[in-house]
Assembly symmetry: C2
Homo-oligomer: 183 residues x 2
DNA sequence: AAATATAACTACCTATTAGTAGGTAGGCAA
DNA sequence: TTGCCTACCTACTAATAGGTAGTTATATTT
């Protein structure tokens, strides 16, 4: 992995474990055993790094959408839910949740990139649920977009709330989300 | 309102609009037209202020639980949901959501107080849903506690996600939460 | 071999942060 | 009226932050 990619990966982990305003270039440089100025060589400003982290997440999402495009709605949904299960296993929260709470403190470029990312997630899940409803493997009353909002909010906040109540609550919520598509 | 209460109120708003790590004692002192040192007179450390803000929220919750204790489950739930609607109208996120993402950066005393607060919210909503299911005004398959987790995660993340997708999505989610108790 | 690009370095700067020391003006109580 | 309390003040410190200028070592290309 290139230095640039390592920085993005570490920055990503720091944002999702501590939040955008609680990590510094020094945190990254320390872990890589290079100097803070060397991180600035790759990413002149913290905003630049933030944008690149978001772009990496978007790229990963696009790859996942692509690689699951021939599968059925149930498989696609499982792929989506697996994202959160993986984040939970690392003890982090998701990027959207972390940055959404910091929205008023970040550069407009980051805010806009984040909005695009959130829209892409919402559109994908909406499509999955729409497909599943049409083919009969999912059943729900409201619109696919509304159901997608419900699923995403459940998963996003499950990561956050289960840090406080009980780690197991994450899986309780995840299972109930799945059940809620077969009512 | 006393100086102390004003500081708590401003700190609370700052946490919920910018996050714990993005506000300073100067932000508060500036708005009150006093000096940063004067804020330290009331709250020696930022942790002290954080604890007091959490205690104020817990106190407010206890008052609400108390004042709605004689009402029915539907009224109680509406009181609960109104908390989030009010926060949304201010453009903020909720304290639990904001601090949950910062959990790894705050003093253990704050983390513990936050966990207590989250437990109290969860217990109250669980009780409301249990009452409602017993009396027949609410209908759902899973346990009251699990349903409470679903409702809370929907509302908590609705505040965060609707900052990114569409402000109206908050109300879409809120209405769907209500519908989801009458299935 | 010389020129260039890459990726790191040392050594700074400026701003902000949390927090402290010590002082003061005014109210209240013995 | 003496003395304490409250609530603020000025003035500071030590640490950390993001960021910059200029330098050097190592490859790669011409």
């Amino acid at each position: 992995m290139s230095t640039r990619e390592t920085i993005i990966q570490l920055g990503d982990q720091l944002i999702r474990s501590k939040g955008f305003n609680a990590f510094s270039f020094y945190d990254i440089s320390e872990k890589m055993k290079i100097k803070n100025a060397s991180v600035h060589y790759h990413f002149p400003t913290k905003t630049d790094l933030g944008i690149s982290i978001l772009e990496a997440h978007r790229q990963k999402l696009h790859s996942l959408i692509e690689s699951t495009s021939t599968k059925g709605p149930v498989d696609k949904l499982n792929s989506f839910l697996l994202i959160y299960t993986t984040i939970k296993s690392e003890g982090h929260v998701c990027l959207v949740g972390s940055l959404a709470t910091d929205l008023n403190t970040v550069d407009l470029k980051i805010a806009n990139e984040l909005k695009t990312f959130a829209d892409e997630i919402l559109n994908w899940v909406t499509t999955i649920l729409d497909e599943g409803k049409t083919s009969g493997v999912f059943s729900f009353q409201c619109s696919p977009r509304t159901k997608a909002l419900m699923v995403i909010t459940n998963m996003l906040a499950a990561l956050q709330l289960s840090r406080l109540t009980n780690e197991e609550d994450f899986y309780t919520i995840r299972n109930e989300v799945i059940k809620g598509l077969k009512d």
